[in-house]
């Protein structure tokens, strides 16, 4: 029987983390960010992490907490600047963390490429800008494009609203953001959900992430109610 449900955050992460792994972390700001899973990563304490996420944390929790604890070697994101992003701002200025800033559409497409088994793609985004530096430029049908390569993670940590034991997922409103793509592009995908339901309860037409992309589910009763 297929049952991807785990009893706790600890169990869901058990044996997967080690020094130097690349984590894909869902969320746009706080919306869709898997805070409880990130807390589990903090507790585990492995170092030299590479974090791929849209933002780089605000306040003292989530990615900011991982940074502050000195566990992060590199952040690949599109928008580290935010109200309250003082940890990444300080560590960036101190040179205490590597930062790779990627246009958001390129970031999500690179992750999608990894999950789709593709090697890379040509995007017009960034032509003539610092984003093109050191990258191959090709003219296709008269237009300039930059080659961007696939980005694949060791572990994806995402948040969803509802799951069944096969790992089929629904999300809430705009918290969906990077979740469906990140789920496809890591060796292991771990999902914290607000609720689990019996197999067959989810409408097969409305499932957003089919369970094939999900390895482990852990229920975290959050402030979001369904």
């Amino acid at each position: 029987m297929i049952d991807k449900r785990k009893k706790s955050i600890e169990e869901s992460l058990d044996g997967l983390l080690k020094d130097g792994v690349t984590l894909l972390i869902g969320g746009f700001g706080d919306s869709g960010a898997p805070f409880e899973l990130m807390q589990g990563v903090l507790t585990a304490g492995f170092r030299d992490l590479t974090i791929v996420s849209n933002n780089a944390g605000t306040g003292d929790r989530g990615i900011a907490a991982l940074l502050e604890a000195g566990l992060v070697k590199k952040v690949i994101c599109s928008y580290p600047r935010s109200s309250g992003a003082y940890v990444i701002e300080r560590m960036y200025k101190e040179g205490a963390v590597e930062l790779e800033v990627v246009p958001q559409g390129t970031l999500v497409e690179r992750i999608r490429c990894g999950g789709a088994g593709l090697g890379g793609f040509y995007t017009p985004t960034g032509i003539g800008t610092p984003m093109a530096e050191g990258k191959e430029v090709k003219i296709i049908k008269g237009r300039e494009y930059i080659l961007e390569e696939a980005l694949f993670g060791d572990i994806a940590l995402i948040k969803a609203a509802v799951a069944d034991r096969w790992g089929n997922l629904l999300y809430t409103k705009a918290s969906r953001n990077f979740g469906p793509v990140m789920a496809t592009s890591a060796s292991r995908t771990i999902v914290q959900v607000c609720k689990t339901v019996e197999l067959g309860c989810l409408n097969p037409e409305a499932i957003v992430t089919p369970g094939i992309f999900v390895d482990q589910i852990v229920e975290v009763r959050a402030d979001n109610e369904f």
């Binding site: 746009f28 700001g29 706080d30 919306s31 869709g32 849209n54 599109s78 928008y79 580290p80 600047r81 935010s82 109200s83 992003a85 990444i88 701002e89 960036y92 200025k93 930062l99 800033v101 990627v102 246009p103 958001q104 559409g105 390129t106 999500v108 497409e109 999608r112 995007t123 017009p124 985004t125 960034g126 032509i127 003539g128 800008t129 610092p130 984003m131 999300y171 809430t172 409103k173 705009a174 918290s175 969906r176 953001n177 990077f178 979740g179 469906p180 793509v181 957003v208 979001n224």
Partner: protein
């Protein structure tokens, strides 16, 4: 406003007035993305008889106005992380689909802020490259390169009085040759094949004075007019 610091007292537009003027150009039935900051104000001034579908890069189409404080939902925010609502007919989708809309040319118009616009319509609006702000690009490059109609809202000069409409951008570029129209506190300027054409100027400012506040070369459109805005 910076224009207040000039020798003569020219009444430049306020942020809300610039947004009001831009709102007059939003076409009925269009798909529109409003950038963070001043552009976000545009929605408040669009004629409610127009049906506009607002896009937010984090995965919304059909975005509505801010909710009452009791109805704020942390999972219903816009790209600026402000609480919003969803209109009937709206849809949620993932970031990949959202950027397919943006980079794929499916939006009608985007209204963004900028640090600089060049006379060829080059746009610099993501980094001042001064080591003060942490570099953060977000969706701005995809929006700029992908959207057919890119419109910029900004003050005509910086707080220090330096021109923002320039021969060549000195700040890191967002995209080349993308801007179609610039709305400033002093004028409305179209980027055309014949260069920058001034379409409207605020009352009391003449063309030569405007040129004096502009690094790039301006031309006055034949059908130029006074930029008239209601008190807001």
């Amino acid at each position: 406003m910076s224009s207040n610091k000039k020798k003569r007292e020219i009444k430049g537009l306020t942020r809300n007035q610039i947004a009001w003027r831009a709102a007059q150009d939003v076409t009925d039935g269009s798909y529109v993305n409003l950038g963070i900051g001043m552009p976000t104000l545009i929605a408040d001034y669009v004629n409610p008889e127009k049906e506009i579908i607002y896009h937010s890069e984090n995965g919304l189409l059909g975005m509505g106005p801010a909710p009452s404080s009791q109805n704020e939902d942390p999972d219903l925010i816009n790209a600026g992380k402000l609480y919003v609502t969803l209109k009937a007919g709206g849809a949620y989708f993932d970031t990949s689909t959202s950027f397919c809309m943006m980079r794929g040319g499916h939006l009608t118009s985007v209204f963004m802020g900028a640090f600089q616009v060049s006379e060829s319509g080059y746009l610099a609006n993501w980094s001042t490259d001064d080591g003060i702000l942490i570099p953060s690009v977000g969706g701005s490059m995809d929006l700029a390169i992908g959207t057919k109609d890119v419109r910029i809202l900004m003050n005509h000069v910086t707080n220090e009085g330096k021109a923002r409409i320039v021969r060549e951008c000195t700040y890191p570029l967002t995209a080349k040759s993308v801007v179609s129209r610039i709305y400033t506190d002093l004028a409305i300027i179209d980027v055309t094949e014949r260069g920058l054409m001034v379409c409207e100027i605020v009352d009391g400012l003449d063309f030569d004075e405007l040129q004096g506040l502009t690094d790039a070369t301006l031309s006055l459109a034949n059908n130029w007019s006074i930029l008239k805005i209601p008190e807001i």
